[in-house]
């Protein structure tokens, strides 16, 4: 309740006449231009709301008088970017993989494009950065390759895949030595012991010697006499420390018994340029040959 408007004794300022439990409010009014500025900002907000998309409705929203759309702007920006990149993409399409690898500009673009495509298509199995995953998804960053690690080998693998129904697919099959009754359990144990000895991890020399004979009879046609494998057939090198399905004796025995034969789809839905960029990217992950 406004009571008495009076001059405050201490500050010399007039009071507003408001008093709460003996506390009086001093009248220190705002300058009027300040409040007009405030009104101007309200008017400005109203104009912006009219011009731009603003008020939501039950279905749709007020689209604004000037027809602005942030989504369209992004689309336009993306179209502009595509146009700007078109020339470089065309060069990537026509250049050979080796040329792309040699040309710093094309290489940079291919790496970026390959990384994006890898994230969308490949990372689900091979992991981000191509580190591989348990259960038959090989690391693409190490220095071993089942089917070859040159640019063209990688391109071929990505394009057509492994052990799928595509006519150009890389094909091979390891016999199910145990299931099909080719080898007995004891023989499987011996040959596994021999395989361990190839990477100098055997603990039972007698068993390994027996296994060597089994290996020579059944395995060398694909894995070679010294166990270094054959990339033509995707037969892995058995002498290294890298094991796709586990390198302990039990895992090796299971591989011999039932075979593994992992597969990879043919990426026919990807355009050749994307495949090229992917090949360059995978080649650069750390293991390219």
């Amino acid at each position: 309740m406004p009571t008495k408007i009076e001059k405050d004794a201490v500050s010399g300022t007039m009071t507003t006449g408001h008093e709460w439990d003996g506390v009086k409010e001093l009248n220190t009014p705002l300058p009027s231009w300040w409040v007009y500025t405030f009104y101007a900002t309200i008017a400005w907000a109203a104009v912006i709301m009219l011009l731009y998309p603003s008020v939501p409705a039950l279905s749709g929203y007020w689209k604004g008088l000037i027809g602005y759309s942030a989504r369209e702007e992004v689309m336009q920006d993306m179209a502009t970017a595509r146009q700007a990149r078109a020339a470089t993409f065309q060069r990537i399409e026509t250049a050979s993989l080796a040329d792309i690898r040699r040309n710093p500009e094309l290489f940079t673009v291919a790496l970026a494009g390959g990384k994006a495509a890898f994230g969308e298509n490949c990372a689900a199995c091979h992991g981000a950065g191509g580190q591989g995953a348990k259960g038959g998804f090989p690391s693409l960053a190490d220095d071993t390759w089942l089917w070859g690690g040159s640019l063209s080998d990688i391109q071929q693998t990505i394009q057509y895949g492994i052990r799928n129904t595509h006519a150009e697919s890389r094909q091979s099959a390891m016999p199910k030595f145990g299931i099909d009754g080719v080898l007995t359990n004891a023989q499987i144990s011996d040959v596994a012991e021999f395989v361990l000895s190839l990477s100098r991890r055997s603990t039972d020399a007698a068993s390994a010697t027996r296994g060597a004979a089994v290996f020579a009879e059944n395995c060398v046609s694909c894995h070679q006499e010294n166990g270094t494998g054959n990339r033509e057939l995707g037969a892995p090198n058995l002498t290294t420390g890298i094991w796709l399905y586990g390198g302990d004796k039990a895992s090796i025995m299971e591989t011999v018994r039932a075979s593994r034969s992992g597969n990879m789809p043919a990426w026919v839905e990807l355009d050749p340029m994307t495949i090229k960029m992917l090949a360059v990217y995978v080649h650069a992950l750390g293991g390219g040959e």
């Binding site: 007039m14 507003t16 009248n27 009014p29 705002l30 300058p31 231009w33 950065g129 190490d142 890298i242």
Partner: protein, 493 residues
């Protein structure tokens, strides 16, 4: 210039002006009534004297610095701009004479701001609001605009008369002449502002060829309009209502600070023949750029410009009284005067000033040291997150790192990259080739960051734990200066 005679003349020119000064700028009708205060236009009367002279000198020096600095040149060699002070936004560099600041070194600017703030605290605790009264751009430009206004529309009395006069050809001519002059000054202000971000000769060439970008024009327009509005129209409203500094500068002031003071014990009771020295001529109010009465004591609105001192001294001389009825004085001195004690000495050294000064020295020394020891090489190492590590066919472990070498010198420099692990084998792909070994030599591009993919391979036995520390050392081949960045080397469990 005007002298004491001018005061007489002005008095004649405004015979109707009430002798009694208004105590406040708030019109009487809003007391207790209105929520908003209508603005009382301040008609600032011209004045001459010592303080006014110092204000002209400060104005000339400051405006001189503002307009001349962008034209100073500084030779930095063929690939760098030769403007002495330039914020090169497109090139992402700040140039201050011999100092070149990179975006990641923006803390030097922060340091300068801190120094400025502490310097302001120190000066304020000693001499009150000299910044506000003499050096603040708002004050400098308002002073300039007022001088132009006075030259075109005349002094206080004439301006009051002109504003009250009905619309006429001469009024329109005078007013439009004033605003044209103001806008011209504002354009020069806005134009000079962009020169701190734009090589000055290039700017004028581009301007002549109509090649100045819209963004630059928008910046000029922004600074032109704010100069025109703030110095021409808003003036003391900026200091009273917009600027935060007056609101908290009282925290830096104490009873030992020099502030513009009306010496009440000497002046009161005011009025001719009342006994005090103050003849109540109201000139101190008429010359005040913020329209206050200094005789009401220290006020938030007072910018400490001291023009009232000049006005009062002129009157004191005329009536043969000692000068400095209004003077720079301290609260302590006024208390002594009131009690009839001897005037105390002005104390420069006080705990407050000592603290501000020592903080100022510490920050200055810290900044100067940081600047002097500033490295010309930066080494950043980002370890690969996917994969964390790669086991190679021979069982050894490989980690991938992205190594960025920042070469701040404007020439290509070779660096030798090594690690703290003597067994580590480095491999870096450089285009089609790759360099390998315990140490690799990498050439860096001038004045930019060069990025390298570095693979570090170590025997499994050399990495007993999941994670071992690993430091990268970039040694500049010519000078042998070493830069080290620490990271880790990861291995399987």
């Amino acid at each position: 210039m005007e002298d004491r005679g001018a005061i007489k003349e002005a008095d004649r020119a405004a015979p109707a002006a009430p002798r009694k000064p208004k105590a406040t700028t708030v019109p009487a009708e809003v007391f207790g009534g209105g929520l908003y205060k209508t603005r009382d236009k301040v008609y600032c009367k011209s004045v001459s004297g010592t303080v006014r002279r110092w204000k002209w000198i400060a104005l000339s020096i400051l405006l001189g610095i503002y307009y001349i600095v962008p034209f100073l040149r500084w030779d930095r060699g063929p690939h760098a701009p030769d403007q002495a002070i330039l914020m090169d936004m497109a090139g992402r560099r700040g140039y201050f004479l011999w100092i070149e600041i990179w975006p990641q070194e923006v803390y030097y600017l922060t340091g300068v701001l801190i120094l400025s703030a502490i310097g302001l605290f120190l000066v304020t605790s000693l001499f009150g609001r000299v910044w506000c009264g003499f050096a603040c751009p708002q004050t400098v430009w308002t002073d300039l605009f007022m001088a132009v206004e006075r030259a075109i529309e005349g002094d206080r009395a004439q301006r009051i008369k002109l504003d009250k006069a009905p619309m006429s050809v001469s009024k329109v001519v005078r007013k439009s002449a004033k605003h044209t002059a103001w806008i011209a000054i504002s354009l020069a202000t806005g134009g000079a502002w962009v020169l701190y971000f734009y090589d000055a000769p290039t700017f004028f060439r581009d301007l002549a060829a109509f090649e100045v970008s819209n963004a630059t024009l928008a910046m000029i327009a922004l600074f032109t309009s704010t100069t025109y509005l703030l110095a021409g129209w808003a003036r003391e409203q900026v200091c009273t209502y917009m600027c935060p500094w007056p609101r908290f500068q009282s925290a830096m002031l104490d009873e030992q600070s020099l502030v513009v003071t009306y010496q009440k014990p000497r002046g009161e009771p005011r009025g001719k023949g009342k006994g005090g020295d103050c003849v109540d001529c109201s000139l101190c109010v008429q010359v005040c750029p913020t329209g206050i009465d200094i005789r009401d004591g220290q006020q938030m609105e007072c910018i400490g410009c001291g023009l009232c001192i000049d006005a009062c001294n002129a009157v004191m001389k005329k009536i043969d009284k000692p000068v400095d009825l209004i003077a720079w004085s301290t609260v302590t001195a006024q208390q002594a005067l009131e009690a009839g004690r001897e005037k105390p000495r002005f104390r420069v050294i006080r705990p407050r000033t000592l603290i501000y000064a020592s903080v100022l020295v510490v920050v200055s020394v810290a900044m100067a040291t940081a600047l002097a020891l500033r490295p010309t090489t930066g080494l950043t190492v980002l370890r690969d997150r996917a994969p964390l590590f790669v086991t190679l066919s021979d069982g050894s472990i490989r980690n991938g790192y992205t190594v960025k070498i920042l070469n701040k010198v404007r020439e290509e420099r070779p660096y030798t990259l090594t690690t703290t692990a003597p067994d580590a084998h480095l491999s870096v792909a450089l285009g089609d080739l790759s360099v390998e070994g315990q140490s690799v030599t990498l050439s860096t591009k001038p004045d930019t960051v060069s990025t390298f993919r570095v693979y570090v391979t170590r025997a499994r036995s050399a990495v007993p734990m999941e994670s071992v520390p690993l430091g990268f050392i970039a040694t500049e081949a010519d000078t042998g200066a070493r830069t080290r960045t620490d990271t880790v080397f990861l291995a399987p469990k």
